[in-house]
Symmetry: D2
Subunit: 158 residues, 4 copies
């Protein structure tokens, strides 16, 4: 499995001196160690961006990595605000199962959906037929059928 | 999705006075709340047993619940020591995707694989074709192809 | 014991929509419940400010509350950046043991000094003779003898 | 400060294969690292016992270490069931501030009083006049004036 990390809340850390969040090292490496995951995988950190800052050039880079890699199962960690847009930009890639996930609360928080969401995405990426999916709130949505409901703080079917 | 809980390390709690673990309420209810899971589901607590104590009668009860329910996606939380035996006992059920999972460290621990494993199982149960699977260590194994390696503390393909 | 809360990193929370921290409810109430503290106490939330924003008027309010309360043991939670200045502003209050503490990482983080620091301050407030103290990094400093070393991320004797 | 560890719930770990707790490495080393404690200290692990198994010989060893060390501030981590008995056995030591603490839930649990209690004890050990004290439930009790209320799960004044 290929894992592409792009930043987002899941990887956010906190610097006291500046009293603001910044995006740190991919947390997924730490998650895999802590839970004893034995799944063979490669992690590539493509960028460290809040998803509101991810632009067309970034999406082209993500797409290029998905298309050119040898893996047929791909997990992408991504900020939640534009996760659906990035999923749409990958939607016509053939022959690969691509699952995007992220978190509404940073993995470094005591209460976070990060570990659960990565688990859900890992499970789906090994199980779904080729296509592009979003794994959030314990559900597997097909790209193009889902949006983030900001007020409710959850993803839902369109 | 139907969720059957049977006990095991994932649900273990600790009573100070007796200095030993006992199996408590299904932790999956708490996990779902904490991560904001919106997946429609029903939870049935069938038993609260260490998996070394699960016998043929218990397995018959688990099987009966899988066969007679209306759900086509079933998640079973189970102790790890005999998870593979229970999976084998369900293997010939037709038309349902059944995923077993559990944990090597209790969900109440700071460091635990419980939340991740439940996530993986939830992802697989919504994605795999009908069959019986075990979701542990970030992998989805087909029933009959997997064993617990006690010394290494992980599940592996036979 | 009287507990005055003023904000600071210890009480910081995170709002996804705005991608920035804000200061929430005093976390000390939650800490006391979680650890089973039985110490009789009253909590007054005076303000919710980053300590860089605490001004002379705020310090006058904190001082007024210390002087006019009936308690002889007072704990103040406070941002770390100007904790030493606030301690200095209280230094000549007679007949009361006043201990300031806070945290370098929010109490809502998995890894935080918040719970430990509140414990240290609670221990000192019940034990020290009248005076003004800062409890940080497991040490009890007298007001006027301590500064925050921002680069090292710790408090140290001047 | 001298820190003597004797075992107890605070240091309990869990071995899956045996489905029972055992007492592990002193957790206080880990706590100090995680919270950034800068207090100069030495840790001696005297024994790893459930406090119901601590006998007169063990108490003589603890006492000998308290009497013969050069430190004037001593922290002892101890199981809660006989913490009061050990405190009583040290009560006539002169010129030293000795504080005992422990935990009702293991430090490895998500919800635990371990970190808070160690903080309280550290604060008291640096602040109290010579004597023997127990720091539990956010309170500092003098040896001989306190008992564990097993049913209520807390320490209380006799």
């Amino acid at each position: 499995m290929l894992i592409l990390t792009t930043g987002g809340t899941i990887d956010k850390i906190y610097f006291d001196a500046k009293s603001e969040y910044e995006i740190g090292e991919p947390t997924i490496t730490h998650i895999f160690q802590e839970v004893g995951a034995t799944l063979p995988h490669e992690i590539i950190s493509l960028m460290r961006k809040d998803s509101l800052e991810i632009n067309d050039e970034d999406r082209a880079l993500i797409r290029k990595n998905c298309v050119e890699c040898q893996a047929s199962q791909i997990l992408i960690t991504h900020g939640t605000d534009t996760m659906c847009e990035t999923a749409a930009a990958l939607q016509d890639i053939q022959g690969k199962t691509i699952v995007l996930t992220g978190a509404l609360a940073p993995a470094r928080f005591k209460i976070t959906d990060a570990v659960f969401n990565v688990g859900t995405a890992i499970g789906a990426a090994q199980s779904k037929p080729p296509g592009v999916y979003i794994a959030m709130n314990g559900q597997i949505f097909e790209a193009g059928t889902v949006r983030k409901n900001r007020e409710a703080g959850k993803f839902e079917r369109i």
